[in-house]
C-alpha cells in the first residue's frame, strides 16, 4: 500500500516539474513538439528507474552514517554522506553512458529516437534531484526507491508532453509580442502547476 502511495504521490503531488522545478532547462528547450518531448520523457523515466536503485544501494551500504558497519564493526561511526553529491553524479554520468551504448547495440530503432537526448540527461536536474530526494526521504527498501523513480519519471513525462501539446496549439493564438516563446511558456507552466495542486492530499 505504501508503495502505491509513493507511486501516486510522486506523479501528481510531488511532481518534479510543478512542485520542484527540476529538469526545467530541457523541459523548456525540448517542448516545442509532442513527438520529441515523448522521446525525452521516456529517456528520463528510463534513466531514473535505473539510477535510483543503484544510488539507493550506494546510500544504504556506503554513504549513510554507520552504513559501513557491514564491513567491520569499527567502521560503524563513519559518516561519508558529504561524498554523496560527487558519487551520485558519477554514477549517473556512467549509467547514462552505459545505457547509451546498450541501447545503441541492441535496439538501433530506439537509439535513433532517443540518441540525441541521452547525453543531455546526465546533466538533467531531475535525475540528480531524484537521487537526492530519495536520500532525504529514506525509503524502507529498494522496491520503494525504484517505484519513486518510476513515478517521478512518469510525472515528468506527463508535464513535458502536456506543455508540448499546449505549445503546438498556441502557434495559432495571438500572444503579445514580448511574451512570445519563453514568457508564455513560464506562465502556462505556472497555471498547470496550480491545476496539479488540486491533487494535493491524494491517498489510498
Amino acid at each position: 500500500m505504501e508503495t502505491v502511495n509513493i507511486f501516486i504521490r510522486s506523479i501528481f503531488v510531488d511532481n518534479m516539474v510543478f512542485a520542484y522545478f527540476l529538469g526545467m532547462c530541457s523541459y523548456l528547450a525540448v517542448s516545442k513538439t509532442v513527438k520529441t518531448s515523448i522521446g525525452l520523457g521516456i529517456a528520463v523515466t528510463f534513466v531514473l528507474v535505473i539510477t535510483l536503485p543503484i544510488n539507493y544501494l550506494l546510500d544504504t551500504y556506503v554513504l549513510r552514517p554507520g552504513a559501513l558497519s557491514w564491513l567491520s564493526p569499527e567502521l560503524a561511526s563513519m559518516d561519508l554522506s558529504f561524498l554523496s553529491f560527487i558519487l551520485f553524479i558519477a554514477i549517473i554520468a556512467s549509467i547514462v553512458q552505459i545505457v547509451e551504448m546498450v541501447v545503441e547495440k541492441f535496439t538501433p530503432a530506439l537509439y535513433s529516437q532517443l540518441g540525441i537526448f541521452l547525453p543531455l540527461i546526465a546533466v538533467n536536474c531531475a535525475i540528480l534531484g531524484g537521487s537526492l530526494f530519495m536520500q532525504q526521504k529514506s525509503f524502507d527498501n529498494i522496491g520503494q526507491a525504484t517505484t519513486y523513480g518510476l513515478g517521478s519519471g512518469i510525472g515528468w513525462l506527463l508535464a513535458i508532453v502536456g506543455i508540448a501539446a499546449i505549445r503546438e496549439h498556441m502557434s495559432y493564438s495571438k500572444v503579445p509580442k514580448p511574451l512570445r516563446g519563453l514568457g508564455i511558456t513560464f506562465i502556462i507552466t505556472g497555471l498547470m502547476g496550480i491545476a496539479f495542486m488540486g491533487f494535493m492530499g491524494i491517498k489510498f
Binding site: F18, A19, Y20, F21, L22, G23, M24, C25, L28, A29, F82, L83, S84, F85, I86, F88, I89, A90, A93, A122, V123, N124, C125, I127, L128, G129, L132, F133, Q136, P176, K177, P178, L179, R180, G181, L182, G183, I184, T185, F186, I187, T189, G190, L191, M192, G193, I194, M197
Partner: protein
C-alpha cells in the same frame, strides 16, 4: 579595467541574463524563492561556484582531452559544491536546512555547464573569473526580484522582518497565500520576462 573586460562583467546582468534570456539555470533556482534569505544565499553560492569553476577549467583548458571534458567539468563543479555545502552547514545551519537538496542541485545547474562550455574553455582565467561573477550576479538578480515579490506579497515581510504595518491588516488587508506556492514562482518569472522584453525589443521572438 579595459572596456571589453567591463563588458564581460556587465553584459550578463541584463542584456545576456542567463536566466531570462539564455534560459539557463532555472532548474534549481525557483524552489528557493519563497523567501529572500534562502534566495540570497543560493545566489551567492552559485556565484562562488561559477566563478571558481570557471577559473579552474580555464587554467586546465589546454590539458583536458576533449572527449572526457564533461566528466572533468562535473568533477570540478561537484567538488566546489561540496565545499560550499560544508561551509553553509557549518556557519548557516538554518539556511542549509531550508535549501536542503537544492544546494546539491547546483551541480546540474545548466548555467555552470553552459558557461564552462561556452566561455571558460576558450578564454583566459581572469576573463573567465569576471564572466563567472557577472553571470552569477545576473542569476542572483532574478532570484532576488522573484523572492522579494513573493515574500512581500505572500507573507508581508522582507528578510523575515514584517514590513506591512499592522494597521493595514486591521483595515482588512490579507496576505496572498497563493504567492507562497511553487507555481507562482513561474508566473512571476514569466512577468519579469514580459517586462524585460518590452523594454529590450531586440530580444522578442
Amino acid at each position: 579595467m579595459s572596456a571589453s573586460r567591463k563588458q564581460i562583467l556587465v553584459d550578463p546582468i541584463s542584456k545576456n541574463n542567463p536566466v531570462v534570456v539564455l534560459m539557463l539555470g532555472i532548474c534549481s533556482a525557483l524552489a528557493v524563492t519563497a523567501q529572500v534569505k534562502p534566495a540570497l544565499v543560493m545566489g551567492i553560492s552559485v556565484t562562488v561556484v561559477l566563478a571558481f569553476s570557471n577559473v579552474i577549467i580555464s587554467l586546465l583548458r589546454n590539458t583536458i582531452p576533449n572527449r572526457i571534458r564533461i566528466i572533468v567539468q562535473l568533477v570540478v563543479i561537484a567538488a566546489l559544491v561540496i565545499i560550499v555545502e560544508q561551509i553553509l552547514k557549518a556557519f548557516a545551519y538554518d539556511v542549509w536546512g531550508q535549501l536542503s537538496v537544492f544546494i546539491g542541485l547546483i551541480i546540474t545547474n545548466c548555467i555552470l555547464m553552459g558557461r564552462l562550455e561556452a566561455f571558460a574553455l576558450g578564454n583566459t582565467p581572469f576573463d573567465s573569473f569576471l564572466d563567472g561573477i557577472g553571470n552569477g550576479l545576473g542569476y542572483t538578480a532574478i532570484l532576488l526580484i522573484v523572492a522579494i515579490a513573493r515574500e512581500f506579497l505572500g507573507s508581508g515581510s522582507l528578510m523575515g522582518y514584517t514590513v506591512i504595518p499592522e494597521s493595514f491588516y486591521e483595515a482588512g488587508y490579507m496576505n496572498n497565500g497563493l504567492m507562497i506556492l511553487p507555481p507562482m514562482a513561474l508566473i512571476v518569472v514569466g512577468c519579469i520576462i514580459w517586462v524585460h522584453r518590452s523594454i529590450d525589443k531586440d530580444l522578442q521572438e
